[in-house]
């Protein structure tokens, strides 16, 4: 059987190149000594005993990175983003290795380099560090409390930034005229991202050329090179970054980590390649964590059931420092679509970004967008329940209508297209919404509590931070072609998708087409993989590239056919004129020469806008009231992803997103001890990952395409919609099942123990227990 993706044979046969698979002759090995303390002053640090260890080559501390002139790790909002009162974000210096103080368990303190990884680890235990413990704060609530421990001397109250968006006065006006209001408090709990491939790097310094190569997993070269350069001072032109295969990223592989920087420094200082391979424990402690958001929403509704306004007051846990994309999530991403699919008069959101003694936060599959989608749909559902409004018809009444597109929200975001009512109707039909009562009765008969929930959501995908997406084509002496872009895949199947797209566009077969991503030797810039944008951005650019190749080849074809260029037409991989024809591949081969660049070599670029993938996910959840165990009884989704290029890969994306959403709803939770600040869920023994059986095998999905004109493919982002749809759909189903028991709100994760306890305490639960 042939695997369905080009990548798969390589990956399943173990012949892929993940970071740890790379080696260089004479390489040394690094080991990171991490802070065991949540919040402490480093009173003394003596690395001499480790230096004296046989086989140890070097031990690095803050003094080394300071001497090298290293800057702070990159994070925080962009400098042009201002907070309330035109304030700038308070961003502490985030040292590559801890300086005088540690702010979270797992923070990198020292780096030991030795002949083997085992020696480096053994020697690290000889390092003498005296910590003076400080009281920690590991929740935003504790960080904001009077007399809270202060993480950073120049950030009193631990508040890094207060951001607002929208018109507070206009929202107040709408609330004054509202007939109904509802509010909700929700937590999108801290998660461990857990890509399959733990973090690793191999740093090489080429002394003869004063140039570096860094092998490390990444989502795209531009951000990585940019940030490594910013921190270390190594010019971007002297830094090559190689990431062939990446075993999952989800947002946390888009920016560099301390080990990469110190390894580059050591590689130069020692003249030897430095390899570091993290363990799963390193991942738990020091990969950026995800989510950690608290959302407080209010909705105003008029006497006819029309939504008037949403008001948000959200709190964002940044962790010990502003790293990665944490601040961007807490500002832009939480607010850009904070009115969802609804046509409202006014929107206002305030978010406060807070420092805590925890691992810093960055992007995790959706990066704030699933969280706000979740919050909107939970709030709407709560409001419908509070005021006896029909959840289907109320949503329908309030949707931005297809006829209103393009629709500008009160925040100025423009939704270009979408047909939310059609998508909802399609989804409810697929889920047999109307037949729920029968299924609920059957569950009741079996002693189970069944609930149904749905969500009509939208997210902004495709915004990037580089000015354009470039691609390039290079033909070799055989006339074969390799195509290049800047984004890096971490499981998405870019190789399959882009080769297929390029070949189809040219009307040629896929043989002899190669694909390379993030190749530093190719001067292509472009966004990394993130925000579900690679297909619509770099894919559109590849479409342009195919057209460029035809343009480049046309004069040569004309010459070969003995006509003028304007007489030549191109179709099905061949140029033709006057009854004669010549194939593109044939011509490419003929014109190839080892001496010069191929005349067909070319590049393309384009800037492609934000898209608004949207959908309606419907879930049914069944609880066993005896144990509190939940089961997803059914799941049916419809997504408007615009035009779909690769149906199998799209389905895989939806499934993966839904599973990650289900993981957050029912199990995952990164927990710190409030007293000691110790990290309690640092392994799979205590951190509940979703399993294959978490979701039903018969998950239903179909697309409902409303193609966008904001890119050349008509495609919208798919990568994150599974999370955005499943969080609210599943939680609305959970609450639908539990509300009749007298349970009004429950925070994720919905564990069996928590449900059982809530049922114990509730009146409805008492009745169920009696019956059972």
């Amino acid at each position: 059987m042939q695997p369905s993706r080009r990548e798969d044979l390589r990956l399943i046969q173990g012949t892929g190149h993940y970071t740890a698979d790379w080696n260089q002759p004479g390489q040394l090995y690094g080991y990171v000594l991490r802070s065991p303390e949540a919040h402490a002053d480093i009173v003394s640090l003596n690395v001499e005993p480790a230096r004296a260890f046989p086989g140890v080559v070097k031990v690095m501390t803050f003094a080394d990175v300071e001497a090298a002139g290293f800057k702070s790790l990159v994070g925080g909002v962009a400098p042009n983003v201002k907070g309330v009162g035109d304030s700038a974000m308070k961003k502490p210096f985030y040292p590559v290795l801890a300086d005088k103080k540690v702010q979270y368990v797992g923070q990198a303190v020292a780096y030991v380099i030795a002949e083997t990884a085992a020696i480096a680890q053994d020697a690290s235990e000889a390092i003498e560090i005296e910590y003076s413990q400080l009281p920690p704060t590991v929740t935003v609530e504790d960080s904001l409390a009077d007399g809270a421990p202060q993480l950073h001397a120049d950030i009193p109250g631990n508040v890094g930034f207060v951001y607002e968006r929208g018109d507070a006065a206009a929202v107040d006006e709408q609330f004054k005229r509202a007939k109904y209001t509802s509010k909700i408090h929700l937590e999108s709990q801290r998660l461990i991202v857990n890509p399959m491939e733990p973090r690793a790097c191999l740093a090489v310094y080429h002394a003869d050329e004063d140039r570096y190569t860094l092998y490390s997993s990444s989502q795209g070269i531009v951000n990585m090179r940019n940030q490594v350069s910013t921190v270390t001072g190594i010019p971007q032109a002297k830094l090559e970054i190689i990431a062939d295969d990446v075993g999952g990223s989800f947002g946390i592989r888009s920016t560099p980590y301390p080990e990469y920087m110190v390894s580059l420094l050591a590689a130069k200082q020692l003249g030897k390649p430095i390899k570091w391979v993290g363990t799963r424990t390193d991942s738990f402690l020091s990969d950026y964590h995800g989510r950690a958001l608290e959302l407080n929403g209010e909705i105003a509704i008029d006497e006819n059931g029309r939504f008037l306004a949403f008001r948000w007051d959200d709190r964002v846990d940044l962790g010990g420092y502003a790293g990665g994309n944490g601040a961007f999530i807490g500002t832009n991403n939480l607010t850009i679509t904070c009115g969802g699919v609804y046509d409202v008069a006014a929107l206002y959101a305030r978010t406060r970004l807070i420092y805590t003694n925890t691992t810093p936060i960055s992007a995790y599959r959706g990066a704030g967008r699933p969280d706000i989608a979740f919050a909107i749909e939970r709030l709407v559902d709560q409001a419908c329940h509070d005021h006896g409004l029909d959840p289907v018809e109320t949503r329908r009444k309030n949707f931005v209508k297809a006829a209103q597109m393009p629709y500008k929200t009160p925040l100025g975001t423009t939704y270009d297209c979408g047909d939310f009512a059609a998508v909802m109707d399609d989804a409810l039909a697929q889920a047999d919404w109307a037949g729920f009562a029968g299924r609920k009765a059957a569950s009741e008969k079996a002693g189970k509590l069944r609930g149904i929930g749905f969500a009509t959501f939208l997210e902004a995908s495709g915004g990037g931070n580089t000015p354009s997406d470039q691609t390039a084509a290079r033909f070799d002496a055989k006339g074969d072609v390799t195509i290049y872009c800047a984004a890096g895949a971490s499981g998405q199947g870019h190789e399959t998708t882009f080769i297929s797209l390029f070949a189809k566009e040219l009307g040629i077969t896929e043989d002899g087409i190669g694909y390379r991503a993030s190749d530093s030797n190719m001067a292509v810039v472009g966004n990394g993989t993130g925000g579900s944008r690679t297909l619509l951005g770099q894919g559109s650019s590849f479409k342009l590239l195919a057209q460029k190749v035809i343009e480049k080849a046309t004069p040569h074809a004309a010459e070969a056919l003995g006509v003028t260029a304007d007489a030549v037409s191109y179709a099905g991989g061949s140029f033709s004129a006057g009854g004669k024809s010549v194939g593109l591949r044939e011509l490419a081969k003929k014109l190839a020469s080892a001496a010069a660049a191929h005349p067909f070599d070319c590049g393309a670029e384009g800037t492609f806008g934000v898209t608004f993938p949207n959908g309606c996910h419907v879930a049914e959840v069944e609880f066993d009231p005896v144990t509190g165990v939940a089961e997803i009884a059914s799941y049916a989704a419809v997504d408007d992803l615009g035009n779909v290029m690769q149906p199998t890969l799209v389905l895989g994306q939806v499934h993966g997103g839904v599973v990650q959403g289900a993981g957050q709803v029912f199990g995952e939770h990164a927990v710190y001890d409030r007293e000691s600040g110790q990290f309690l869920t640092a392994s799979f023994m205590d951190y509940t990952m979703p399993r294959a059986a978490t979701v039903p095998l018969a998950m239903k999905w179909r697309g409902h395409a409303v193609p966008t004109k904001t890119n050349l493919l008509g495609a919208k982002g798919v990568g994150e919609s599974g999370c955005s749809g499943s969080l609210p759909a599943l939680m609305n189903a959970v609450m639908n099942a539990l509300r009749p028991m007298g349970i009004d709100n429950m925070q994720m994760p919905i564990t069996a123990a928590k449900v059982w306890q809530a049922l114990q305490a509730s009146e409805g639960g008492a009745a169920v227990r009696k019956a059972a």
Binding site: A118, T627, V671, M685, D686
Partner: protein, 266 residues
């Protein structure tokens, strides 16, 4: 993992000799708990003595109304053994619930019992079936064997050779899996022994490891029925409470698992 000396014993005598030769030596059965512990540097034995090739510790047979299981029998062997499936089907089922496929293909009954993890499955079965643990030095009754979390009656230099499972009239085990680790959050094993007595072993829930739920035993001895279990509850004071579940929940689950085990037997 700290550096250590790996030794593979080829016979029980050799294993005993190697174990006696070094004060910091440790035995390794399937290694499913020990190896992760070593990798996390939570243990630092000087010598690791691998028992995998010790023939005396293997084999599964029924003799004189007793199912004899060699200490190095893997969970997968117990689960798939036609002998076990016929003699004590509840035990084959219990083995099938341990860990995952990889763990079951490496982990052993002797290793599990010697480690006595408070959430391991076999201790509940050993208590319920009134198993006798045979070592190179003596025979130990189940009731004397478990001595609290990770603590057993095993002494220095003592190696489990086999476990003697008296054939019950019937028995069954029901387990509530810990959502993260898959270990037992509560597991209850009920055995009705040949003499008609009833024993109930509980794992996962007790704050001092596996225990016998004597109240349930007495009730079931009087009336082997679901009704007998009604209203019975393990004292939450004796149960584990942690991040994942409070003691009250575990206490409750013990009762639920008892009912579910019993349902399989009725």
């Amino acid at each position: 993992m700290y550096a250590l000396n790996y030794q593979r014993a080829k016979s029980l005598d050799e294993a005993v000799k190697l174990l006696g030769a070094e004060p910091e030596a440790k035995l390794m059965a399937g290694g499913q708990t020990l190896i992760p512990t070593l990798k996390a540097r939570l243990a630092q034995p000087s010598h690791l003595i691998d028992l995998a090739r010790v023939a005396e510790l293997k084999g599964i047979e029924v003799k004189d109304g007793v199912l004899i299981i060699g200490a190095m029998s893997k969970h997968y062997e117990v689960m798939t053994s036609a002998v076990v499936q016929k003699a004590i089907p509840g035990l084959a089922n219990m083995a099938s619930l341990i860990g995952d496929l990889q763990v079951r293909n490496m982990g052993t009954m002797g290793g599990s019992i010697a480690n006595n993890d408070p959430a391991a499955d076999y201790p509940a079965g050993v208590l319920a079936h009134n198993v006798t643990i045979v070592t190179n030095k003596r025979e130990i009754k189940a009731d004397d064997y478990f001595q609290g979390m990770f603590a057993t009656a095993l002494e220095e230099g003592e190696i489990i050779i086999k476990l003697l499972w008296p054939l019950p009239k019937k028995s069954a085990y029901s387990k509530f899996e810990h959502p993260a680790s898959g270990y037992a959050m509560a597991g209850t094993c009920i055995a009705q022994l040949a003499d008609g007595s009833v024993r109930v072993g509980v794992t996962g829930a007790g704050s001092s490891g596996a225990f016998r739920w004597t109240e349930a035993e007495e009730a079931l001895a009087k009336s082997f029925s679901l009704k007998a279990l009604e209203g019975l509850k393990v004292d939450p004071e004796t149960c584990l409470g942690d991040l994942h579940a409070p003691p009250e929940y575990r206490a409750h689950l013990v009762g639920v698992m008892a009912k579910r085990a019993l349902e399989k037997m009725l």
